[in-house]
Symmetry: C2
Subunit: 295 residues, 2 copies
Protein backbone atom coordinates (compact mmCIF):
# COMPACT_ATOMS: atom_id res chain seq x y z
CA UNK A 1 0.00 0.00 0.00
CA UNK A 2 2.73 2.41 1.04
CA UNK A 3 4.73 1.63 -2.11
CA UNK A 4 1.68 2.72 -4.06
CA UNK A 5 1.27 5.90 -2.02
CA UNK A 6 4.85 7.07 -2.54
CA UNK A 7 4.41 6.30 -6.23
CA UNK A 8 1.50 8.74 -6.57
CA UNK A 9 2.52 11.37 -3.99
CA UNK A 10 5.93 13.02 -3.56
CA UNK A 11 7.53 10.88 -0.81
CA UNK A 12 8.68 14.11 0.88
CA UNK A 13 5.00 14.77 1.59
CA UNK A 14 4.37 11.33 3.11
CA UNK A 15 4.65 10.36 6.77
CA UNK A 16 4.25 6.71 7.70
CA UNK A 17 3.25 6.20 11.33
CA UNK A 18 4.32 2.71 12.25
CA UNK A 19 3.39 0.21 14.94
CA UNK A 20 6.24 -0.54 17.35
CA UNK A 21 4.32 -2.70 19.83
CA UNK A 22 5.72 -5.73 17.98
CA UNK A 23 9.25 -4.61 18.85
CA UNK A 24 11.22 -7.10 20.82
CA UNK A 25 14.60 -7.43 22.47
CA UNK A 26 16.34 -10.63 21.50
CA UNK A 27 19.97 -11.48 22.21
CA UNK A 28 20.19 -7.96 23.65
CA UNK A 29 19.27 -6.43 20.29
CA UNK A 30 16.37 -4.04 19.80
CA UNK A 31 14.34 -5.37 16.90
CA UNK A 32 11.60 -3.31 15.24
CA UNK A 33 10.03 -5.68 12.70
CA UNK A 34 7.42 -3.31 11.29
CA UNK A 35 9.81 -0.39 10.87
CA UNK A 36 12.37 -2.62 9.18
CA UNK A 37 9.90 -4.31 6.86
CA UNK A 38 8.66 -0.92 5.71
CA UNK A 39 12.21 0.36 5.23
CA UNK A 40 13.42 -2.70 3.34
CA UNK A 41 10.25 -2.82 1.23
CA UNK A 42 10.35 0.83 0.18
CA UNK A 43 14.09 0.53 -0.50
CA UNK A 44 13.38 -2.38 -2.84
CA UNK A 45 15.60 -4.56 -0.67
CA UNK A 46 13.01 -6.77 1.00
CA UNK A 47 12.90 -10.49 0.48
CA UNK A 48 9.82 -10.58 -1.74
CA UNK A 49 9.15 -14.26 -1.05
CA UNK A 50 8.88 -13.96 2.71
CA UNK A 51 7.79 -10.33 2.90
CA UNK A 52 10.34 -9.66 5.63
CA UNK A 53 14.11 -9.52 5.88
CA UNK A 54 16.51 -8.71 3.08
CA UNK A 55 16.73 -10.22 -0.39
CA UNK A 56 19.86 -12.30 -0.97
CA UNK A 57 20.38 -12.66 2.76
CA UNK A 58 22.80 -15.11 4.38
CA UNK A 59 22.22 -16.88 7.69
CA UNK A 60 25.69 -17.60 9.02
CA UNK A 61 25.07 -16.08 12.45
CA UNK A 62 21.80 -18.00 12.95
CA UNK A 63 23.38 -21.23 11.74
CA UNK A 64 26.27 -20.72 14.14
CA UNK A 65 23.80 -20.03 16.95
CA UNK A 66 22.52 -23.58 16.51
CA UNK A 67 25.79 -24.77 18.05
CA UNK A 68 24.70 -23.16 21.32
CA UNK A 69 21.11 -24.33 20.94
CA UNK A 70 20.38 -20.61 21.04
CA UNK A 71 17.07 -19.00 20.25
CA UNK A 72 16.92 -19.24 16.49
CA UNK A 73 13.15 -19.30 16.03
CA UNK A 74 13.26 -15.59 15.27
CA UNK A 75 15.43 -15.60 12.16
CA UNK A 76 17.89 -12.74 11.88
CA UNK A 77 19.86 -12.64 8.65
CA UNK A 78 23.48 -11.52 8.69
CA UNK A 79 22.85 -8.22 6.88
CA UNK A 80 19.60 -7.61 8.74
CA UNK A 81 21.56 -8.02 11.98
CA UNK A 82 23.47 -4.85 11.11
CA UNK A 83 20.22 -2.87 11.37
CA UNK A 84 19.58 -4.24 14.86
CA UNK A 85 23.22 -3.76 15.93
CA UNK A 86 23.12 -0.14 14.79
CA UNK A 87 19.72 0.58 16.36
CA UNK A 88 20.77 -0.99 19.66
CA UNK A 89 24.05 0.93 19.74
CA UNK A 90 22.34 4.25 19.01
CA UNK A 91 19.58 3.67 21.58
CA UNK A 92 22.27 2.81 24.16
CA UNK A 93 23.92 6.13 23.30
CA UNK A 94 20.66 7.86 24.19
CA UNK A 95 19.18 8.43 20.73
CA UNK A 96 15.40 8.05 20.49
CA UNK A 97 13.82 5.37 18.32
CA UNK A 98 12.46 8.06 15.99
CA UNK A 99 15.93 9.56 15.56
CA UNK A 100 17.46 6.17 14.82
CA UNK A 101 14.60 5.36 12.44
CA UNK A 102 15.24 8.58 10.54
CA UNK A 103 18.92 7.65 10.29
CA UNK A 104 18.15 4.16 9.05
CA UNK A 105 15.61 5.23 6.44
CA UNK A 106 17.96 7.98 5.22
CA UNK A 107 20.76 5.40 4.94
CA UNK A 108 18.48 3.39 2.65
CA UNK A 109 17.81 6.46 0.53
CA UNK A 110 14.15 6.86 1.48
CA UNK A 111 12.60 10.30 1.25
CA UNK A 112 9.35 9.79 3.12
CA UNK A 113 9.25 10.18 6.88
CA UNK A 114 8.93 6.86 8.69
CA UNK A 115 7.96 7.54 12.29
CA UNK A 116 7.42 5.04 15.10
CA UNK A 117 4.05 5.56 16.78
CA UNK A 118 5.96 6.29 20.01
CA UNK A 119 9.51 6.45 21.31
CA UNK A 120 8.30 4.74 24.49
CA UNK A 121 8.20 1.02 25.06
CA UNK A 122 4.81 -0.55 24.31
CA UNK A 123 4.53 -4.30 24.15
CA UNK A 124 1.74 -6.34 22.61
CA UNK A 125 1.08 -9.30 24.89
CA UNK A 126 -1.10 -12.12 23.65
CA UNK A 127 -2.99 -14.47 25.93
CA UNK A 128 -3.19 -17.91 24.40
CA UNK A 129 -5.22 -20.42 26.45
CA UNK A 130 -2.64 -23.19 26.07
CA UNK A 131 0.39 -21.01 26.88
CA UNK A 132 -0.78 -18.10 29.02
CA UNK A 133 0.40 -14.61 28.15
CA UNK A 134 3.22 -14.53 25.62
CA UNK A 135 5.04 -11.87 23.65
CA UNK A 136 3.79 -10.92 20.22
CA UNK A 137 6.74 -12.42 18.36
CA UNK A 138 6.42 -15.64 20.35
CA UNK A 139 2.82 -15.78 19.13
CA UNK A 140 3.37 -14.57 15.58
CA UNK A 141 6.68 -16.20 14.72
CA UNK A 142 7.22 -18.78 17.46
CA UNK A 143 3.67 -20.20 17.25
CA UNK A 144 3.21 -19.15 13.60
CA UNK A 145 0.01 -17.35 14.77
CA UNK A 146 -1.76 -20.71 14.59
CA UNK A 147 -3.13 -20.74 18.14
CA UNK A 148 -6.40 -19.12 19.25
CA UNK A 149 -6.12 -15.78 21.00
CA UNK A 150 -8.08 -15.12 24.18
CA UNK A 151 -7.00 -11.52 24.68
CA UNK A 152 -4.55 -8.85 23.64
CA UNK A 153 -2.92 -6.45 26.04
CA UNK A 154 -0.78 -3.45 25.09
CA UNK A 155 1.61 -3.23 28.02
CA UNK A 156 2.86 0.28 28.70
CA UNK A 157 0.57 2.01 26.24
CA UNK A 158 -1.14 4.17 28.88
CA UNK A 159 2.15 5.95 29.56
CA UNK A 160 3.31 6.20 25.96
CA UNK A 161 3.49 9.51 24.16
CA UNK A 162 3.17 9.86 20.39
CA UNK A 163 6.62 10.21 18.84
CA UNK A 164 7.64 13.70 17.71
CA UNK A 165 5.87 14.57 14.48
CA UNK A 166 3.03 12.06 14.81
CA UNK A 167 0.32 14.46 16.00
CA UNK A 168 1.54 17.23 13.68
CA UNK A 169 1.41 14.87 10.72
CA UNK A 170 -2.13 13.79 11.63
CA UNK A 171 -3.20 17.42 12.07
CA UNK A 172 -1.66 18.67 8.84
CA UNK A 173 -2.12 15.81 6.40
CA UNK A 174 -4.38 16.41 3.43
CA UNK A 175 -5.33 12.76 3.57
CA UNK A 176 -4.89 10.11 6.24
CA UNK A 177 -4.82 6.48 5.13
CA UNK A 178 -5.29 3.53 7.44
CA UNK A 179 -3.54 0.81 5.49
CA UNK A 180 -5.03 -2.69 5.15
CA UNK A 181 -3.35 -4.22 8.17
CA UNK A 182 -4.45 -6.19 11.22
CA UNK A 183 -6.92 -3.91 13.08
CA UNK A 184 -6.13 -5.50 16.45
CA UNK A 185 -2.36 -5.88 16.60
CA UNK A 186 -1.03 -3.62 13.84
CA UNK A 187 -3.38 -0.62 13.69
CA UNK A 188 -4.77 -1.12 17.20
CA UNK A 189 -1.55 -0.28 19.08
CA UNK A 190 -1.13 2.96 17.10
CA UNK A 191 -4.70 4.02 17.96
CA UNK A 192 -4.10 3.14 21.61
CA UNK A 193 -1.23 5.58 22.10
CA UNK A 194 -2.89 8.40 24.06
CA UNK A 195 -3.66 11.32 21.77
CA UNK A 196 -3.59 9.50 18.44
CA UNK A 197 -7.20 8.30 18.37
CA UNK A 198 -8.42 11.78 19.31
CA UNK A 199 -6.29 13.29 16.56
CA UNK A 200 -7.90 10.90 14.08
CA UNK A 201 -11.42 11.56 15.35
CA UNK A 202 -10.77 15.26 14.65
CA UNK A 203 -9.69 14.36 11.08
CA UNK A 204 -12.35 11.69 10.48
CA UNK A 205 -13.57 13.42 7.35
CA UNK A 206 -10.13 13.15 5.68
CA UNK A 207 -9.37 9.65 6.84
CA UNK A 208 -9.75 6.65 4.55
CA UNK A 209 -9.31 3.11 5.76
CA UNK A 210 -8.69 0.13 3.51
CA UNK A 211 -10.21 -3.11 4.74
CA UNK A 212 -7.69 -5.89 5.40
CA UNK A 213 -10.60 -8.33 5.30
CA UNK A 214 -11.79 -9.48 1.90
CA UNK A 215 -14.82 -11.77 1.68
CA UNK A 216 -14.43 -12.52 5.38
CA UNK A 217 -10.79 -13.53 5.20
CA UNK A 218 -7.40 -11.92 5.61
CA UNK A 219 -5.06 -12.27 2.63
CA UNK A 220 -2.26 -13.09 5.05
CA UNK A 221 -1.81 -13.28 8.78
CA UNK A 222 -4.31 -14.00 11.52
CA UNK A 223 -6.50 -10.86 11.29
CA UNK A 224 -9.65 -12.79 10.37
CA UNK A 225 -9.33 -15.39 13.12
CA UNK A 226 -8.24 -12.81 15.65
CA UNK A 227 -11.24 -10.56 14.92
CA UNK A 228 -13.61 -13.50 15.41
CA UNK A 229 -11.82 -14.79 18.51
CA UNK A 230 -12.01 -11.38 20.14
CA UNK A 231 -15.73 -10.93 19.45
CA UNK A 232 -15.64 -8.84 16.31
CA UNK A 233 -17.12 -9.69 12.96
CA UNK A 234 -14.55 -10.91 10.45
CA UNK A 235 -15.97 -8.92 7.58
CA UNK A 236 -15.79 -5.43 6.13
CA UNK A 237 -18.74 -4.61 8.40
CA UNK A 238 -16.68 -5.62 11.44
CA UNK A 239 -13.83 -3.47 10.16
CA UNK A 240 -16.16 -0.54 9.49
CA UNK A 241 -17.47 -0.83 13.02
CA UNK A 242 -13.93 -0.70 14.45
CA UNK A 243 -12.97 2.34 12.39
CA UNK A 244 -16.33 4.18 12.19
CA UNK A 245 -15.29 6.79 14.75
CA UNK A 246 -12.03 7.69 13.03
CA UNK A 247 -12.53 7.11 9.31
CA UNK A 248 -15.34 8.59 7.22
CA UNK A 249 -14.54 6.26 4.34
CA UNK A 250 -13.81 2.56 4.04
CA UNK A 251 -12.45 1.01 0.88
CA UNK A 252 -13.68 -2.56 0.46
CA UNK A 253 -12.85 -5.09 -2.19
CA UNK A 254 -15.14 -5.81 -5.10
CA UNK A 255 -15.80 -9.17 -3.49
CA UNK A 256 -17.60 -7.30 -0.73
CA UNK A 257 -19.82 -5.18 -2.99
CA UNK A 258 -22.81 -6.84 -1.37
CA UNK A 259 -21.91 -5.40 2.05
CA UNK A 260 -21.76 -1.80 0.87
CA UNK A 261 -25.18 -0.97 2.36
CA UNK A 262 -24.30 -2.59 5.67
CA UNK A 263 -21.08 -0.52 5.86
CA UNK A 264 -22.90 2.67 4.95
CA UNK A 265 -25.58 1.99 7.55
CA UNK A 266 -22.80 2.57 10.11
CA UNK A 267 -22.33 6.09 8.79
CA UNK A 268 -19.20 5.14 6.84
CA UNK A 269 -18.87 5.96 3.15
CA UNK A 270 -17.97 2.88 1.19
CA UNK A 271 -15.73 2.77 -1.85
CA UNK A 272 -15.72 -0.53 -3.71
CA UNK A 273 -12.47 -1.18 -5.57
CA UNK A 274 -9.94 -3.92 -6.31
CA UNK A 275 -7.87 -4.12 -3.11
CA UNK A 276 -5.75 -7.21 -3.70
CA UNK A 277 -2.26 -5.90 -4.44
CA UNK A 278 -0.06 -8.37 -6.28
CA UNK A 279 2.49 -5.71 -7.06
CA UNK A 280 3.22 -2.05 -7.59
CA UNK A 281 0.61 -1.62 -10.36
CA UNK A 282 -2.29 -2.61 -8.12
CA UNK A 283 -0.81 -0.72 -5.15
CA UNK A 284 -0.53 2.43 -7.24
CA UNK A 285 -4.08 2.10 -8.54
CA UNK A 286 -5.40 1.64 -5.02
CA UNK A 287 -3.28 4.55 -3.77
CA UNK A 288 -4.89 6.82 -6.40
CA UNK A 289 -8.28 5.84 -5.05
CA UNK A 290 -7.50 6.38 -1.36
CA UNK A 291 -5.56 9.58 -1.94
CA UNK A 292 -8.16 10.82 -4.38
CA UNK A 293 -5.55 11.62 -7.04
CA UNK A 294 -6.88 11.47 -10.60
CA UNK A 295 -4.97 9.10 -12.88
CA UNK B 1 50.64 -22.40 25.55
CA UNK B 2 47.25 -23.75 26.62
CA UNK B 3 47.08 -25.94 23.51
CA UNK B 4 50.37 -27.47 24.67
CA UNK B 5 49.10 -27.95 28.22
CA UNK B 6 45.96 -29.82 27.19
CA UNK B 7 48.14 -31.93 24.91
CA UNK B 8 50.28 -33.17 27.81
CA UNK B 9 47.67 -33.21 30.61
CA UNK B 10 44.15 -34.66 30.51
CA UNK B 11 42.04 -31.60 29.68
CA UNK B 12 39.60 -32.69 32.38
CA UNK B 13 42.33 -31.83 34.87
CA UNK B 14 42.96 -28.37 33.45
CA UNK B 15 41.32 -25.12 34.52
CA UNK B 16 42.06 -21.99 32.53
CA UNK B 17 41.42 -18.79 34.50
CA UNK B 18 40.86 -16.07 31.96
CA UNK B 19 41.05 -12.29 31.96
CA UNK B 20 37.67 -10.64 31.40
CA UNK B 21 38.71 -7.03 31.97
CA UNK B 22 38.97 -6.67 28.18
CA UNK B 23 35.28 -7.49 27.87
CA UNK B 24 33.22 -4.85 26.21
CA UNK B 25 29.62 -4.12 25.31
CA UNK B 26 29.24 -3.11 21.69
CA UNK B 27 25.93 -2.81 19.82
CA UNK B 28 24.35 -4.11 23.05
CA UNK B 29 26.31 -7.35 22.81
CA UNK B 30 28.53 -8.66 25.60
CA UNK B 31 31.88 -9.48 24.01
CA UNK B 32 34.54 -11.47 25.89
CA UNK B 33 37.55 -11.44 23.55
CA UNK B 34 39.93 -13.47 25.70
CA UNK B 35 37.40 -16.18 26.53
CA UNK B 36 36.41 -16.49 22.88
CA UNK B 37 39.95 -16.56 21.55
CA UNK B 38 40.80 -19.36 23.97
CA UNK B 39 37.65 -21.28 23.06
CA UNK B 40 38.10 -20.92 19.32
CA UNK B 41 41.82 -21.73 19.55
CA UNK B 42 41.39 -24.88 21.61
CA UNK B 43 38.51 -25.96 19.35
CA UNK B 44 40.79 -25.63 16.34
CA UNK B 45 38.40 -23.07 14.89
CA UNK B 46 40.39 -19.88 15.32
CA UNK B 47 41.52 -17.81 12.38
CA UNK B 48 45.20 -18.73 12.55
CA UNK B 49 46.28 -15.71 10.54
CA UNK B 50 44.80 -13.10 12.83
CA UNK B 51 44.88 -15.08 16.07
CA UNK B 52 41.29 -14.07 16.83
CA UNK B 53 37.87 -14.75 15.36
CA UNK B 54 36.87 -17.82 13.42
CA UNK B 55 38.52 -19.40 10.43
CA UNK B 56 36.52 -19.13 7.20
CA UNK B 57 34.51 -16.28 8.66
CA UNK B 58 32.21 -14.01 6.62
CA UNK B 59 31.62 -10.32 7.32
CA UNK B 60 28.16 -9.62 5.93
CA UNK B 61 26.83 -8.00 9.11
CA UNK B 62 29.85 -5.69 9.43
CA UNK B 63 29.73 -4.80 5.74
CA UNK B 64 26.03 -4.01 6.07
CA UNK B 65 26.76 -1.89 9.14
CA UNK B 66 28.81 0.40 6.90
CA UNK B 67 25.54 1.59 5.37
CA UNK B 68 24.68 3.13 8.73
CA UNK B 69 28.24 4.40 9.26
CA UNK B 70 28.04 2.23 12.35
CA UNK B 71 30.93 1.31 14.61
CA UNK B 72 32.81 -1.24 12.56
CA UNK B 73 36.31 -0.74 13.97
CA UNK B 74 35.74 -3.76 16.21
CA UNK B 75 35.24 -6.46 13.62
CA UNK B 76 32.61 -9.05 14.45
CA UNK B 77 32.33 -11.90 11.97
CA UNK B 78 28.92 -13.37 11.17
CA UNK B 79 29.56 -16.70 12.92
CA UNK B 80 31.42 -15.06 15.79
CA UNK B 81 28.35 -12.85 16.30
CA UNK B 82 26.41 -15.96 17.30
CA UNK B 83 28.67 -16.37 20.33
CA UNK B 84 27.98 -12.81 21.43
CA UNK B 85 24.25 -13.11 20.71
CA UNK B 86 24.03 -16.26 22.80
CA UNK B 87 26.16 -14.88 25.65
CA UNK B 88 24.11 -11.67 25.76
CA UNK B 89 20.82 -13.55 25.72
CA UNK B 90 21.90 -15.89 28.54
CA UNK B 91 23.28 -13.06 30.68
CA UNK B 92 19.99 -11.19 30.19
CA UNK B 93 18.22 -14.32 31.41
CA UNK B 94 20.26 -14.11 34.60
CA UNK B 95 22.96 -16.69 33.88
CA UNK B 96 26.43 -15.83 35.16
CA UNK B 97 29.35 -15.34 32.81
CA UNK B 98 30.97 -18.50 34.16
CA UNK B 99 27.82 -20.52 33.46
CA UNK B 100 27.57 -19.17 29.93
CA UNK B 101 31.27 -19.78 29.37
CA UNK B 102 30.86 -23.40 30.45
CA UNK B 103 27.98 -23.74 27.99
CA UNK B 104 29.96 -22.22 25.14
CA UNK B 105 33.08 -24.29 25.70
CA UNK B 106 30.98 -27.45 26.01
CA UNK B 107 29.24 -26.58 22.75
CA UNK B 108 32.67 -26.45 21.11
CA UNK B 109 33.52 -29.86 22.54
CA UNK B 110 36.18 -28.67 24.97
CA UNK B 111 36.86 -30.76 28.04
CA UNK B 112 38.97 -28.38 30.09
CA UNK B 113 37.31 -25.86 32.38
CA UNK B 114 37.52 -22.32 31.06
CA UNK B 115 36.62 -19.93 33.86
CA UNK B 116 36.39 -16.15 33.75
CA UNK B 117 38.46 -14.55 36.52
CA UNK B 118 35.23 -13.07 37.87
CA UNK B 119 31.52 -12.96 37.08
CA UNK B 120 31.55 -9.28 38.03
CA UNK B 121 32.21 -6.43 35.67
CA UNK B 122 35.83 -5.26 35.65
CA UNK B 123 36.97 -2.88 32.98
CA UNK B 124 40.52 -2.09 31.94
CA UNK B 125 40.73 1.64 31.26
CA UNK B 126 43.80 3.02 29.54
CA UNK B 127 44.96 6.59 29.88
CA UNK B 128 46.57 7.74 26.67
CA UNK B 129 48.00 11.30 26.83
CA UNK B 130 46.53 12.31 23.46
CA UNK B 131 43.05 10.87 24.11
CA UNK B 132 42.48 10.76 27.86
CA UNK B 133 41.08 7.61 29.42
CA UNK B 134 39.70 5.14 26.89
CA UNK B 135 38.40 1.59 26.99
CA UNK B 136 40.79 -1.28 26.45
CA UNK B 137 39.38 -2.26 23.06
CA UNK B 138 39.49 1.36 21.89
CA UNK B 139 43.20 1.30 22.78
CA UNK B 140 44.01 -2.20 21.58
CA UNK B 141 41.86 -2.43 18.45
CA UNK B 142 40.76 1.15 17.77
CA UNK B 143 44.26 2.63 18.20
CA UNK B 144 46.03 -0.64 17.27
CA UNK B 145 47.92 -0.30 20.63
CA UNK B 146 50.28 2.12 18.87
CA UNK B 147 49.91 5.02 21.31
CA UNK B 148 51.91 5.46 24.54
CA UNK B 149 50.14 4.49 27.75
CA UNK B 150 50.29 6.79 30.76
CA UNK B 151 48.37 4.58 33.16
CA UNK B 152 46.09 1.58 33.46
CA UNK B 153 43.08 1.44 35.74
CA UNK B 154 40.97 -1.64 36.47
CA UNK B 155 37.56 -0.13 37.08
CA UNK B 156 35.40 -2.18 39.41
CA UNK B 157 38.10 -4.65 40.41
CA UNK B 158 37.95 -3.77 44.14
CA UNK B 159 34.40 -5.09 44.31
CA UNK B 160 34.92 -8.13 42.08
CA UNK B 161 34.82 -11.63 43.49
CA UNK B 162 36.69 -14.55 41.92
CA UNK B 163 34.30 -16.61 39.81
CA UNK B 164 33.14 -19.94 41.30
CA UNK B 165 35.93 -22.50 41.06
CA UNK B 166 38.79 -20.03 40.67
CA UNK B 167 40.10 -20.16 44.24
CA UNK B 168 39.46 -23.90 44.50
CA UNK B 169 41.40 -24.51 41.32
CA UNK B 170 44.30 -22.42 42.58
CA UNK B 171 44.24 -24.23 45.93
CA UNK B 172 44.06 -27.72 44.47
CA UNK B 173 46.17 -27.53 41.32
CA UNK B 174 49.31 -29.63 41.22
CA UNK B 175 50.88 -26.98 39.09
CA UNK B 176 49.88 -23.39 38.34
CA UNK B 177 51.11 -21.86 35.09
CA UNK B 178 51.14 -18.15 34.35
CA UNK B 179 51.07 -18.17 30.58
CA UNK B 180 53.28 -15.84 28.53
CA UNK B 181 50.85 -12.98 28.25
CA UNK B 182 50.90 -9.24 28.88
CA UNK B 183 51.71 -8.87 32.62
CA UNK B 184 49.91 -5.53 32.86
CA UNK B 185 46.63 -5.93 30.97
CA UNK B 186 46.19 -9.71 30.59
CA UNK B 187 47.65 -11.28 33.74
CA UNK B 188 47.42 -8.10 35.83
CA UNK B 189 43.60 -7.96 35.98
CA UNK B 190 43.41 -11.58 37.11
CA UNK B 191 45.90 -10.92 39.92
CA UNK B 192 43.97 -7.78 40.91
CA UNK B 193 40.71 -9.61 41.67
CA UNK B 194 40.66 -9.67 45.48
CA UNK B 195 41.70 -13.10 46.74
CA UNK B 196 43.51 -14.34 43.65
CA UNK B 197 46.96 -12.87 44.37
CA UNK B 198 46.85 -14.19 47.93
CA UNK B 199 45.86 -17.62 46.63
CA UNK B 200 48.88 -17.56 44.33
CA UNK B 201 51.24 -16.35 47.04
CA UNK B 202 50.17 -19.38 49.06
CA UNK B 203 51.00 -21.63 46.09
CA UNK B 204 54.16 -19.79 45.03
CA UNK B 205 56.23 -22.94 45.19
CA UNK B 206 54.03 -24.70 42.61
CA UNK B 207 53.62 -21.72 40.31
CA UNK B 208 55.63 -21.38 37.12
CA UNK B 209 55.47 -18.27 34.96
CA UNK B 210 56.59 -18.12 31.37
CA UNK B 211 58.08 -14.80 30.32
CA UNK B 212 56.20 -13.04 27.52
CA UNK B 213 59.32 -10.92 27.00
CA UNK B 214 62.11 -12.42 24.92
CA UNK B 215 65.34 -10.48 24.49
CA UNK B 216 63.58 -7.36 25.71
CA UNK B 217 60.69 -7.58 23.25
CA UNK B 218 57.18 -9.02 23.12
CA UNK B 219 56.56 -11.45 20.27
CA UNK B 220 53.25 -9.72 19.67
CA UNK B 221 51.23 -6.97 21.27
CA UNK B 222 52.36 -3.97 23.28
CA UNK B 223 53.68 -5.73 26.44
CA UNK B 224 57.24 -4.52 25.97
CA UNK B 225 56.32 -0.88 25.36
CA UNK B 226 53.70 -0.92 28.08
CA UNK B 227 56.13 -2.30 30.67
CA UNK B 228 58.63 0.44 29.84
CA UNK B 229 56.00 3.18 29.72
CA UNK B 230 54.70 2.18 33.14
CA UNK B 231 58.13 2.18 34.76
CA UNK B 232 58.96 -1.51 34.60
CA UNK B 233 61.91 -3.11 32.90
CA UNK B 234 61.06 -4.67 29.56
CA UNK B 235 63.11 -7.79 30.15
CA UNK B 236 62.82 -11.14 31.84
CA UNK B 237 64.20 -9.41 34.94
CA UNK B 238 61.31 -6.95 34.87
CA UNK B 239 58.90 -9.87 34.49
CA UNK B 240 60.61 -11.79 37.31
CA UNK B 241 60.26 -8.76 39.55
CA UNK B 242 56.50 -8.51 38.79
CA UNK B 243 55.92 -12.20 39.51
CA UNK B 244 58.51 -12.85 42.24
CA UNK B 245 55.92 -12.88 45.00
CA UNK B 246 53.63 -15.39 43.31
CA UNK B 247 55.85 -17.63 41.16
CA UNK B 248 58.88 -19.53 42.41
CA UNK B 249 59.96 -20.30 38.85
CA UNK B 250 60.27 -18.26 35.68
CA UNK B 251 60.81 -19.84 32.30
CA UNK B 252 62.85 -17.57 30.03
CA UNK B 253 63.86 -18.04 26.43
CA UNK B 254 67.31 -19.22 25.43
CA UNK B 255 67.88 -15.73 24.11
CA UNK B 256 67.84 -14.57 27.73
CA UNK B 257 70.30 -17.16 29.07
CA UNK B 258 72.55 -14.26 30.05
CA UNK B 259 69.95 -12.87 32.46
CA UNK B 260 69.55 -16.12 34.41
CA UNK B 261 71.69 -14.86 37.30
CA UNK B 262 69.79 -11.57 37.47
CA UNK B 263 66.47 -13.44 37.63
CA UNK B 264 67.76 -15.81 40.31
CA UNK B 265 69.09 -12.91 42.35
CA UNK B 266 65.43 -11.98 42.87
CA UNK B 267 64.84 -15.36 44.54
CA UNK B 268 63.15 -16.78 41.44
CA UNK B 269 64.31 -20.08 39.96
CA UNK B 270 65.09 -19.68 36.29
CA UNK B 271 64.49 -22.32 33.62
CA UNK B 272 66.02 -21.53 30.25
CA UNK B 273 64.15 -23.14 27.35
CA UNK B 274 62.90 -22.41 23.85
CA UNK B 275 59.74 -20.38 24.46
CA UNK B 276 58.84 -19.22 20.95
CA UNK B 277 55.83 -21.33 19.95
CA UNK B 278 55.28 -21.51 16.21
CA UNK B 279 52.82 -24.32 16.59
CA UNK B 280 51.62 -27.25 18.67
CA UNK B 281 55.00 -29.02 18.70
CA UNK B 282 56.76 -26.16 20.45
CA UNK B 283 53.76 -25.51 22.71
CA UNK B 284 53.74 -29.15 23.78
CA UNK B 285 57.47 -29.16 24.45
CA UNK B 286 57.15 -26.01 26.54
CA UNK B 287 54.13 -27.44 28.36
CA UNK B 288 56.19 -30.50 29.36
CA UNK B 289 58.76 -28.17 30.88
CA UNK B 290 56.32 -25.98 32.82
CA UNK B 291 54.20 -28.90 33.99
CA UNK B 292 57.27 -30.95 34.79
CA UNK B 293 55.97 -33.95 32.81
CA UNK B 294 58.71 -36.18 31.43
CA UNK B 295 58.54 -36.71 27.68
Amino acid sequence: MLRGIVAVVDPRDVTAIVNTADDTVLHGLHISPDLDTITYTLAGAVNAETGWGLAGETWHAMDALDRYRGETWFRLGDRDLATHLHRTQRLAQGATLSTVTAEITAAWGLHLRVVPMTDDRVETRITVPSLGEIGFQEYFVGQRHSVPVASVRLAGVEDAKPAPGVLDALAEAERIVICPSNPIVSIGPILAVPGIRDALVARRHDTVAVSPIIAGAALKGPADRMLAELGHESSVVGVARLYAEIAATLVVDEADEGLRAAVESLGVDCIVAPTVMHGLAEATALARIVIGTPE
